[in-house]
């Protein structure tokens, strides 16, 4: 066993133990399992939300985009700040309704607001279909990171099932509380890794971050301003993309439901205020991608830029540390995704769609069983058909974003009807899928999902005005 491997194993096992311990002393019911009994305070909410949001994409994707595309990667810095601004105004409203009506999931909100179980089942299906490819992406990322960090001692096809079992165990026992506790470990490790590499690597090669940018500006000035190395990703693409992603950010079933975990709306607002500070480390990740662009030109896969740079410049044990941080960074979002998908399947598809009389204990038991089913499905795809879900992944974000107009309009516009909301969502998803699958993304320099969002809002408004108002809860 090499030092790197020992570090990876030690951290991953310790994290799992913490996750299991987190739920040991509480009586598990559905509300505790899904939303932590609505008792999370500011600090744990911050870790939980950061844990959900900063995935393996932050590690590999942001540096990979900086490496291969350049300036368009700045959109990641922007959309976070905008999404937290949206959440500052939107999430407290959702929290109040969640508290008043006992909501636990995103479809619960739609069922309650529009008085339609069918709409709830439909929203739940969109949620599960969007979550599965993301879960697979996390598992694939875990495999990639552990294989690279252990220098091939643990191949991806071993790391992925191992991560799968460990994640299942703590989700099964502790629910959302397990995720929140492991998220603390993950956030600390990841920030440490990013700060060390983000400051250290540019310093080693260029004497600092500023001089690194100067060297890049001298060598490839176009890489640092839009559209960078990607002609189709210009200013209008960034503008439409950050608006789309800011709208969609809290429309994922798991981010939406995080509003229900807080103990008060004050906690949510204060959390939204401090979240943008978490964007700053992303600058360091982008800097690592730019450094790799200068010192390691010609990598076949830009997503490997971060790990390759660490392997070339740091001792093996540190590569192990980065691998451990990366593995836990995959496990935390994976756990929340599987928890959410399982609850959607049991509560909003099985119970709401087919067995309205099912008891809460039955739903909890079924949710826990679904943890294994959902993980197994994602595992199967990750191992057997690594590319089968790429199409779904491409429109996952576009898809969940289409819920945004209905949610916002439901809160501010009394005339929005059930038919209007449903027609808008269907239109939005159809337009997004049509454009993406026919390779028309971006279209006219705009993100296809943004065009779909505009069509969605227009259809929702027109259909609402043409149908009689029959809202249940105001």
């Amino acid at each position: 066993v090499t030092p790197a491997l020992a570090i990876i194993l030690g951290v991953v096992l310790a994290s799992t133990a913490v996750g299991i311990t987190a739920g040991r002393r509480m009586k598990m019911n559905l509300e505790n399992w899904t939303v932590g009994g609505r008792r999370f305070g500011l600090l744990i909410m911050w870790f939980l939300m950061a844990g959900e949001i900063y995935t393996t994409f932050t590690f590999l994707g942001a540096s990979g985009w900086a490496y291969s595309r350049g300036a368009p990667t700045y959109y990641i810095l922007i959309y976070g700040a905008l999404a937290y601004t949206v959440s500052f105004y939107l999430l407290p409203e959702l929290w109040r309704r969640g508290k008043r009506f006992g909501l636990q999931t995103q479809p619960d909100f739609f069922i309650r607001t529009f008085g339609s179980r069918a709409l709830g089942v439909f929203v739940a299906l969109i949620g599960v279909a969007s979550i599965l490819p993301y879960l697979q992406l996390q598992l694939a990322g875990l495999g990639l990171i552990v294989e690279a960090a252990s220098d091939g001692a643990v191949v991806a096809n071993v790391a992925i099932p191992a991560g799968f079992v460990l994640t299942c165990v703590f989700v099964f026992t502790s629910g959302i509380r397990g995720t929140a506790w492991v998220a603390i470990i993950k956030d600390v490790l990841m920030i440490a890794a990013v700060v060390v590499v983000g400051i250290g690597a540019p310093r080693m090669f260029f004497g600092g971050i500023g001089p690194m940018f100067k060297a890049l500006a001298a060598k490839a000035p176009g890489h640092l301003v839009l559209p960078g190395a990607a002609p189709s990703l210009g200013v209008s693409w960034v503008m439409s993309t950050v608006l789309l992603t800011a709208a969609g950010f809290y429309m994922w079933p798991h981010t939406f439901a995080s509003a229900f975990s807080a103990k008060s709306d004050r906690v949510i607002r204060r959390n939204a205020i401090i979240m943008p500070f978490y964007q700053i480390p992303i600058l360091l990740v982008i800097g690592v991608g730019f450094t790799a662009f200068l010192v390691l030109p010609g990598l076949a896969n830009g997503d490997m830029a971060f790990l390759t740079l660490v392997r070339k410049t740091y001792p093996p044990w540190f590569l192990g540390f980065v691998g451990a941080a990366g593995a836990v960074t995959a496990m935390v979002p994976a756990s929340i995704l599987v928890l959410t998908a399982s609850t959607l399947l049991a509560k909003n598809i099985y119970q709401a769609g087919f067995r309205p009389g099912a008891s809460e204990r039955t739903v909890l038991r079924l949710s826990r069983a679904m943890v294994v089913v959902v993980m197994a499905a994602a595992l199967l795809f990750a191992l057997v058909f690594p590319n089968a879900l790429v199409n779904l992944l491409l429109i996952g974000y576009d898809g969940v974003s289409q819920l945004f107009p209905s949610v916002v309009l439901a809160l501010v516009w009394k005339r929005l009807t059930r038919a209007g909301a449903a027609a808008g969502i269907v239109t939005g998803i159809a337009v997004a899928a049509g454009l993406v699958f026919t390779k028309h993304d971006p279209l006219w320099g705009l993100n296809a999902g943004f065009i779909a969002l505009a069509a969605n809002a227009a259809v929702a408004a027109v259909v609402s005005l043409l149908t009689p108002s029959r809202r249940i809860a105001g």
Binding site: L226, V235, F277, L283
Partner: protein, 72 residues
């Protein structure tokens, strides 16, 4: 709607004006700040300022300062 509440909503537009509407005018390399391209400096400045904007919005939007319901 109360004056403070209105202002609180208006403040929410600030990050969108700075980080979306202004982008076509700030997409340039020069002047650099500590070596960083101007576009990136502009984005970082406003991302770092967003918490302050939201903090101000929170103060203005609160019905009755301080709202002590969730404190021990």
């Amino acid at each position: 709607m109360r004056q403070g509440k209105k202002l609180s909503f208006l403040l929410g537009a600030v990050p969108f004006l700075a980080l979306v509407a202004a982008l076509p005018f700030v997409n340039r390399l020069e002047p650099t700040v500590f070596g960083l391209p101007f576009l990136l400096v502009w984005i970082l400045f406003w991302v770092a300022l967003t918490p302050l904007v939201l903090f101000a919005a929170d103060r203005l939007g609160r019905r009755r300062p301080p709202d002590d319901k969730d404190r021990p």
